[in-house]
């Protein structure tokens, strides 16, 4: 029997609960909307003695990730949280964390990058960091945010990986949206993540090591190739940890969350909370006899190319929804579209792909937008032609 506690929590509080159960050695963090509640709630756990964590209230996000690196290099289990410009401010150190192979776990509550200053949801922040060498998981709901954070600790610390993990959830929509969240029993969560034995540690005074050393042109390339090697092994670890997690939680976690894809001729690919809206539209259209399905990738890094190709193998037309723009990319496309296209091209699949940019700066996405997408897909499947590669949902044009 699976023992759980059910609480009404928003995504930020769900994330804080996960951190409480992980009980990391160090949390170094700086507040930024809409992540603030995560760290604020966690610091209350620290103050109340509910965790043993050394909490460092640092002066900026750059300092936060720097302190996390120091603590992780010293062999500690380390977590933090940020969003938007906070993630942007820690940009150089985010790369350093993954390059130093430190299994830090960070919540990123997706929020638009400035300028203009916007505190609402879009994916420009985490997408901007997609090349930083971190594993990236997207959470549709507060429940997923909680579940992903717990699993992230085990994923990051796996000896084949030793790669930090970013767990995303949509700012405000998920972060501030209260839902029913089931928590694992504290003891179960603790046992699931186990104890962390660092491969190398600054505190190993019997056998001192140097961290953050210098590479000349004769070694940098090899060290970078190692990171790709780790990421190439990550999907298998993510799947295995997901299976183990199902055993303790009753909830299933894999690479892609597929809905109505079995005989689908049309498909919508979308990350995070908008998948909820998309799923409702797909359900409605299926009842009307439209052979449409939904694919919601949970994992963006490493990119699930093989899994997507398998899911899309029978599909004639696929719409990829992006909550960010890769400025200057082909016709102003978004990053998810670009990577899906790469996967389709490499696999030689004949599916036609079309991009929809939506939701920037918290712009709402409604069922009628998804119905428009489905209608466009039907046209593309019928004619075999894409007349407009990159489109916008909810933009005043």
């Amino acid at each position: 029997m699976v023992v759980t506690t059910k609480l009404a929590l928003d995504g930020a509080h769900a994330a804080a609960q996960a951190m409480r159960q992980v009980n990391p050695d160090v949390v170094a963090a700086y507040p930024i909307t809409p992540q603030t509640a995560i760290v604020q709630t966690f610091s209350q756990y620290v103050a109340d003695g509910e965790v043993d964590t050394e909490f460092m209230a640092v002066e900026s996000e750059h300092a936060a990730m720097s302190a996390c690196i120091g603590a992780a290099a010293a062999g500690g289990r380390v977590m933090t949280a940020t969003a938007a410009n906070g993630l942007a401010l820690m940009w150089e150190v985010v790369y350093i964390a993954s390059s130093m192979r430190l299994p830090i776990v960070m919540s990123v509550v997706n929020r638009a990058l400035s300028a203009p200053l916007n505190i609402h949801c879009d994916h420009s922040d985490s997408m901007g960091a997609r090349d930083a060498g971190w594993i990236q998981l997207y959470s549709e709901t507060a429940q997923e945010a909680y579940d992903n954070l717990i699993q992230a600790v085990r994923i990051a610390e796996h000896p084949d990986l030793l790669t930090p993990v970013m767990v995303m959830q949509d700012g405000f929509i998920t972060g501030h949206g209260v839902e029913r969240v089931e928590l694992l029993d504290d003891a179960v969560a603790k046992q699931f993540i186990g104890t962390y034995t660092p491969k190398y540690s600054l505190l190993d005074i019997d056998s001192p090591k140097t961290f953050g050393a210098w590479d000349m042109y004769d070694y940098y390339f090899e060290h970078k190739r190692q990171q790709t090697d780790a990421l190439s092994k990550a999907m298998k670890v993510i799947v295995n940890v997901g299976q183990a997690y199902e055993g303790v939680s009753g909830r299933r976690y894999g690479v892609l969350d597929q809905y109505a894809m079995d005989d689908a001729e049309l498909a919508i690919i979308v990350l995070s909370s908008a998948a909820g809206t998309a799923r409702n539209t797909v359900k409605k259209l299926r009842a009307e006899g439209v052979k449409i399905g939904l694919v919601k990738p949970r994992v963006f890094r490493p990119f699930p190319a093989d899994e997507l190709v398998e899911a899309l193998s029978g599909v004639k037309a696929v719409a990829v929804l992006d909550r960010s723009i890769s400025f200057g990319a082909v016709e102003g496309a978004g990053p998810l579209f670009l990577e899906v296209c790469a996967a389709l091209f490499v696999a030689g699949l004949g599916a036609k792909a079309v991009n929809y940019i939506y939701g920037l700066g918290g712009r709402d996405i409604f069922p009628q937008h998804l119905e428009q997408v489905a209608s466009d897909l039907q046209g593309i499947a019928a004619t075999g032609k894409v007349t407009s590669l990159v489109n916008y949902l909810g933009l005043r044009e």
Binding site: M100, P208, E222
Partner: protein, 107 residues
């Protein structure tokens, strides 16, 4: 030699250096274009060269100048610059001047 170096599979992950004090193995002395030479007879063992050397490349023992560490001396010339002692005919160069003088590395 490039062939001696570790492949990506062999290299330590994260660039972690496993042995302490390993910088000493890196022979920065190969970067020199000038090298310092010493006149022991006229050296007053004032230790000024040792204090000022930015690369810890003057070897001293029991309050006396012993040798240059040519494995790590980059030939910056600071020791020659701060040396206060004089010689009429330097042991190595034969020239009048300081106890420490700089000569071309090629010589």
């Amino acid at each position: 030699m490039p062939e001696d170096k570790a492949t990506w599979k062999e290299a330590t992950i994260g660039g972690v250096v496993l042995e302490p004090g390993s910088s000493a193995e890196y022979k920065t002395g190969t970067w020199r274009t000038l090298r310092p030479v010493h006149d022991m007879e006229n050296c007053t063992h004032c230790m000024m060269c040792w204090i000022f050397c930015p690369d810890s490349s003057i070897i001293v023992k029991d309050g006396r100048w012993v040798a240059f560490d040519y494995d790590h001396c980059k030939g910056c010339g600071i020791c020659a610059s701060v040396c206060p002692a004089k010689t009429k005919a330097h042991e190595v160069t034969g020239k009048e001047g300081k106890v420490i003088q700089m000569v071309s590395e090629g010589d």
